[in-house]
Amino acid sequence: MLVEVKNLVKRYKDVLAVDNVSLSIEEGEILGLLGPNGAGKTTTINAMIGLTRPDSGEILIFGKNFNNHELEIKRDLGVVPQDIAIFEDLTAYENLCYFGKLYGLKGSLLKERVEEALEFTGLLDRKKQYPKKFSNGMKRRLNIACALVHHPKLIIMDEPTVGIDPQSRNHIIQSIKKLNEMGSTIIYISHYMEEIEEICTRIVIMDQGRVIAKGTKEELKALMTSDERVVVELSSANYTLVDNIKKLSGVKDAYINGTELTVISQKNSKNLNGIIAQVSENSEIISLNVEQPSLETVFLTLTGRSLRD
């Protein structure tokens, strides 16, 4: 167990920012921490990296306690803060050198690591430039590079892709996968469920300071109500069609709304062929959509609210 958080509580005056959160991370994982703004994600990791003192709870990182082993823990920790934390008046190269030196790197090793981090984040040809002139995406990438120079065992990334262009986002997502393949354990915080779904091996969903669900992607989806939903847009529709479809195996309900037919079946009823056969007898299929449960629907189901509110 690389990280273990037990019954963490943090209160800001009358806001219970983190309410009895427990989670754990195994070596080699990418753990996704998903939740809407204000869910308490940042507060949770701030407590883990020693930036805020929790009101109660226990945190073990690398099996060690922060009180007695602060420097040892810090040495192997890489953090990508939610707000971009780079010096605009130092070049990309100088930024990385400065932060690398804080971890005791020097000489040729420092140089090597800095070049590597720049290469990794695709900033090598910009190393002499000041971040003032960078796009937001490039700043975000430099922000990530700063956390990588000292080759940390555990990398914590707090919303590293907020407010950037799709290309930079893609670059970042790919590099996180690569980092993980190279052996880093990663905690990835986001309120974009697509990202979390794409890269994380395990997911913790937080809302209003509490962990409301955790598990692998599949486990979480299994939490869903066991319904599958098929929506078919037709050239024309009639009500006998609805009756016929209701007779198909596994179908719980079917209704028509204009030219749009919705069929609700039990999970894994494998009746899509039957539905298509019925529908195409009488009219033409314009579009067909099978809705699988996503983390969005998981969240919706668990909280009754959408993630993006």
Binding site: I49, L51, K74, R75, D83, A85, D89, L102
Partner: protein, 374 residues
């Protein structure tokens, strides 16, 4: 090792903030050049109209004659147009009519009193208190003071007011000292140097506001190392301005220092530390750029101002007490005493005061910095 690294990057960032840096280095440099130029002009009497002066010697004794002789030397005559008058009333009338700028009056027991070791006065009458007039008369008196003729005067050089039309000039007390122009220039320079407090203040506030502070908090460095590095960095950034000041002081008064330049260097190194610490403390306490800047400037104006009114001999009440908290006051005392062969003990006491201030303020800075950094 970390301290030096942090200091290095602090200096780098301070210098890259080129507007502030220019203000800290460029402004004093320009100011120094102007002052140096003016001071040289005054000394050589170039571009100045000759100063019309009369004297009445009611004494006629040996010292008075020596003094008269002194008035006729080439150096004096290049800057002064000197005439002798035959009565005090005539002289005063000439001052009133504006024919001369000032009248110097040697009383009839002038030489005699000196000989007997009693106090005596040289009296000066003038209509004007504008600085040029005062300066030249005062500079003149100072020159006279340094000459052997007057050196034995035990008493003050007083200014006596006789007629209501004639304004009295206050002339400084005990012989050798800066003249007013030099005092103003000196305090101006000191004040400019003290504005360096802005650097520490802004630098600290800047780094407290920056997200980058988080990176220091999560990295395996000691917070004392972080704050010390910042202090050292800000200190080093201010050193060029202090260097300029030392160079200036040496250029203008170096010949009178008798090799005591080390005193001056030490003084400015200490002052730089005080300024750095004061700025950083204000930064830590205010945490706001605008407020921090205003307080730094006001604090500096107050401390320099206290030193200035003390120098001019016009400090009263609160300020008279306050001056002992003013580092600029101690710097002035050290520089003045070094140049004009003042008391060594007073130089030492002042140096110790400055050293104590640096120690205390640095300790407070590190303490506050450690608390605010986390």
């Amino acid at each position: 090792m970390n301290v030096l690294q942090i200091a290095y990057y602090t200096v780098l960032r301070n210098i890259r903030d080129w507007k502030l840096f220019l203000l800290l280095i460029g402004a004093p440099l320009v100011f120094y050049l102007i002052i140096a130029n003016v001071t040289t002009n005054v000394n050589q009497g170039i571009n100045l109209e000759k100063f019309k002066l009369a004297y009445f010697d009611a004494d006629g004794g040996p010292t008075a004659q020596q003094f008269e002789g002194f008035l006729q030397t080439k150096e004096i005559l290049t800057a002064f147009d000197i005439q002798k008058v035959d009565s005090l009333d005539n002289g005063k009338q000439m001052v009133k009519d504006g024919k001369i700028e000032a009248l110097i009056y040697l009383k009839n027991d002038f030489s005699q009193s000196l000989k007997q070791g009693e106090k005596t006065n040289i009296e000066i009458f003038s209509n004007k208190s504008i600085s040029a007039t005062r300066l030249l008369v005062e500079g003149f008196i100072n020159t006279v003071n340094t000459s052997s003729a007057i050196k034995k005067i035990a008493g003050d050089i007083n200014v006596t007011e006789v007629s209501s039309g004639i304004q009295q000039i206050a002339i400084s007390s005990t012989g050798k000292t800066f003249n007013d122009a030099d005092k103003s220039a000196f305090i101006g320079l000191l004040e400019m140097l003290s504005y360096g407090a802005l650097l520490g203040c802004l630098s600290v506030i800047n780094s407290m506001k920056k997200n980058t502070l988080l990176r220091f908090n999560i990295s395996p460095i000691n917070d004392l190392a972080y704050v010390s590095g910042q202090f050292l960095g800000n200190y080093l950034t201010l050193c060029p301005s202090s260097g300029l000041f030392i160079a200036f002081t040496y250029f203008i008064w170096g010949s009178s220092m008798q090799g005591n330049i080390l005193n001056i260097i030490l003084t400015f190194l200490l002052l730089t530390g005080i300024i750095t610490a004061l700025g950083m403390i204000v930064g830590y306490l205010t945490k706001k750029t605008g407020l921090g800047a205003i307080i730094s400037v006001c604090l500096n104006a107050l401390l320099s101002g206290a030193a200035f009114v003390w120098m001019m001999g016009t400090a009263h009440g609160f300020l008279k007490w306050f001056v002992f908290l003013s580092p600029q006051y101690y710097v002035y005392v050290i520089v003045a005493d070094t140049i004009f062969e003042g008391f060594t003990s007073r130089i030492q006491v002042s140096l110790i005061s400055l050293a104590m201030a640096v120690t205390a303020l640095t300790a407070v800075t590190l303490f506050l910095g450690r608390r605010k950094a986390v």
